[in-house]
């Protein structure tokens, strides 16, 4: 076990999987000579050469599409998109091709590839560089979706993603890149998709945090315990497809309350989806309506004070939890 940053954990996963399997290669904008916009791929060009660490032009749709073609014919590409906002330029290849081809051709072609991209607000990058769009990708059948929030998960899930035969959308978070955590040194530190992590046990309320919000939710839980004597159980689903709904439902059966926290927009969001699933499958367990804490329903503003109130922080989560205890 070693303490490393989230970005270094991702780097380890890429390095180990490239060492393990010749078919794994990287494509993306400024991932090589520049070492990656967020330094996730630092040093890999030096180690593996230009054949396997490929700097691309700024052509997101084609980068992803080339990954699809290469995956169909024997390789295991890992494509980096500089941020999730730019992935919208590749939406056709991700949705109409990557996610669809296995089904559309009756199971004849596999598309074993990973598309990595970071998301998230907090760096004053304004309305085209700050959004959290995991809900868009959750919407699409035919691919898997990971949203790791710790360094250990980042490494273990990325290794699992690279080894899986399905296409995977792998959403990192810009804020988390610099965060440190314990990461196993083990080459086979692989975390299966579809297994939620219980970050903190508690009997009073279930708080589900998505991506960076799993971290924020844990901090809010500490406040709830200290200031309100409420013990929150914090769950990080880690992957949204497959989703470990069982762990969430078991927790709700115990706590009878659920609050979902996400950084993305409210309408058609991950929380909306989870709230529907919980009320469909655990209606009788609930003592209060399922609550959601989400990013504000607007394009992310640049101005620092505005940006700060446009995505969730601990106080909003605390308030939402307290509201589930008030008389209805």
């Amino acid at each position: 076990m070693a303490v490393v940053r989230y970005r270094e954990a991702l780097n380890q996963a890429l390095r180990e999987e490239m060492q393990r399997d010749e078919r794994v290669f990287l494509m993306g904008e400024d991932i090589g000579v520049f070492n990656g916009a967020f330094k996730v791929t630092a040093g890999l060009l030096e180690e593996f050469g230009e054949k396997r660490v490929r700097d691309t032009p700024i052509s997101e749709n084609t980068i992803v599409g080339m990954g699809v073609g290469a995956a169909m014919t024997g390789l295991r590409p890992v494509v980096e998109l500089m941020t999730i906002n730019f992935s919208l330029l590749a939406m056709d290849q991700i949705v109409n091709h990557m996610a669809t081809i296995h089904y559309m051709f009756g199971g004849q072609a596999k598309v074993p590839m990973v598309v990595r991209m970071p998301q998230g607000a907090g760096h004053q990058l304004g309305p085209t560089h700050s959004h959290c769009l995991e809900a868009l990708y959750l919407h699409v059948p035919g691919m898997l979706l990971a949203v790791p929030s710790t360094a250990a998960d980042a490494k273990g899930l990325l290794k699992a993603a690279i080894r899986d035969d399905n296409p995977v959308v792998f959403i990192e978070h810009e804020y988390l890149y610099g965060q440190r955590g314990d990461v196993p040194d083990d080459d086979d530190h692989v975390i299966q998709f579809g297994q939620a992590a219980i970050r903190r046990e508690g009997a009073d309320v279930t708080v589900v945090g998505i991506s960076r919000m799993a971290v924020t939710a844990e901090k809010a839980a500490d406040i709830l315990a200290k200031e309100h004597e409420i013990e929150a159980e914090v769950i990080d689903p880690r992957t949204l497809r497959p989703l470990d709904l069982d762990t969430i439902l078991e927790s709700v059966a115990k706590t009878n309350r659920a609050v979902i926290v996400e950084e993305g927009w409210p309408h058609g969001g991950v929380g909306a989806n989870l709230a529907a699933l919980i009320q469909e499958q655990a209606f009788d367990d609930l003592d209060a309506p399922v609550a959601r804490v989400t990013g504000a329903d607007l394009p992310m503003p640049y101005s620092k004070p505005l940006e700060q109130i446009a995505y969730p922080h601990e106080p909003q989560i605390v308030e939402a939890v307290l509201a589930t205890f008030r008389d209805l």
Partner: protein
């Protein structure tokens, strides 16, 4: 203008056996397309149906210039490519009929044919969507040290998609062995070439990306073959992409839902005089009897395909969710990725429960019953809006009948 080819009709003929096989394949495609159109009019085939009648020389010329281990990737007008690559006409027709034995097991339909065994890597419904895939396939060949070439077919309309510029640039930059073949049938759906492209010499549009261009007469199978053979050779040996423009013409509408108001009957008649099958048969100096005999073979083969497709079973209702995911440690069944409803989704039970617990299966049986009738419906109307209107009216009629 970049490299220009010789005058039409002067290309070197292939060996007699090969020439005959080319002619037979073009005839097979022609007759297949005609019957597919008839089956569409009978509502045996649904969705969109884009026929390649008139474009047969571009298909056979390209496919016969390829090696078996080369990859071909095409568009939504791809029945001919599936056939020319060696696909079984029975299974191509069965796909149009939406049957389980179709080349894509009834998941793809007319626009999405696929045949891995013959390295036909698919027809694609998104205009320009296949260009990046082709470059990726060429990259995989290159990466693995294999000398395969990928041939990527698309239409003149796709030359205006962003993927055209993105992919040509990347393919040239990375020296990928891919031949981009634009079958310029002179219309992007109903918009004429000169109304959709500022530069109408499409083979010149690679110049700015470092992709040399060749042009051929796409109504002449010999010339198309010759130019494609040269392009494929250069891609394979010189490790570089090439753009080939084949000038052609589709004799039928863009799809079956096309009233063809954007061009004149006279223009169509002019091009029909250059019918690639007639021109090639004449060039081979075949007697009329012989042409008729070969054509009869094609008709017979297609009849057989229709009979096969019509008898073939539909995919079973419980197979609805098959092939969404590749199963393994992380995804043990589609249900492990799908949590929408309580109870039913918790395991393999789903397959057997589907019939009992899913209301809509009654629609499945209605559709199967309707498809088994000899002549299911009236000839489909000529444009899409009208088709939708009539579908809506039909649904209303059915509702009224149900109420009665």
């Amino acid at each position: 203008m970049a490299d220009v080819t010789q005058e039409a009709g002067t290309g070197q003929l292939p060996e007699p056996d090969a020439a005959r096989e080319w002619l037979e394949t073009m005839m097979l495609i022609r007759r297949f397309e005609e019957r597919a159109g008839e089956m569409y009019a009978k509502a045996k085939v649904g969705g969109f149906l884009h026929l390649a009648i008139g474009e047969e020389a571009t298909i056979v010329g390209a496919c016969r210039a390829m090696r078996d281990d080369d990859y071909l990737i095409s568009t939504y007008r791809s029945h001919g490519h599936a056939l020319a690559r060696g696909g079984d006409p029975d299974r191509v027709m069965a796909e149009l009929f939406g049957r389980d034995e179709g080349v894509s097991h009834g998941r793809g339909g007319s626009m999405h044919m696929f045949d891995l065994e013959n390295r036909f890597m698919g027809g694609y419904g998104i205009v320009g969507g296949n260009l990046p895939l082709a470059a990726g396939m060429a990259l995989a060949s290159d990466y693995q040290g294999l000398d395969e070439v990928t041939v990527c077919v698309f239409g003149d309309g796709a030359a205006n998609q962003g993927t055209f510029g993105e992919t040509l640039n990347l393919a040239a930059l990375w020296k990928l062995p891919v031949v981009f073949m634009v079958t310029n049938n002179q219309f992007g759906m109903g918009t004429a070439l000169e109304r959709h492209s500022a530069v109408t010499d499409l083979h010149r549009r690679g110049d700015g990306f470092g992709v040399p261009g060749l042009r051929c007469d796409g109504m002449d199978v010999v010339e198309t073959h010759e130019v494609m053979r040269e392009a494929i050779r250069r891609a394979r040996e010189d490790r570089q992409p090439i753009l080939v423009e084949a000038i052609t013409y589709r004799f039928r509408g863009h799809s079956m839902a096309d009233p063809e108001e954007y061009r004149t009957k006279e223009q169509v008649e002019e091009w029909r005089k250059r019918d690639p099958i007639n021109v090639f048969a004449e060039r081979l100096g075949l007697e009329d009897d012989e042409v008729e005999r070969l054509d009869g073979q094609a008709v017979e083969r297609v009849d057989q395909a229709v009979a096969f497709a019509d008898k073939a079973p539909f995919p079973a209702p419980e197979s609805l969710y098959d092939h969404i995911y590749v199963f393994g440690d992380q995804v043990q069944g589609w249900y492990s990725v799908d949590e929408r409803s309580a109870g039913v989704h918790k395991g393999e039970d789903e397959r057997s429960l589907a019939e009992a617990e899913r209301g809509p299966t009654e629609h499945y049986h209605q559709a199967v019953e309707a498809a088994s009738k000899e002549d299911v419906g009236e000839k489909k109307p000529a444009d899409e809006a009208q088709a939708e209107d009539e579908d809506a009216e039909e649904a209303e009629d059915q509702d009224e009948e149900a109420e009665e």
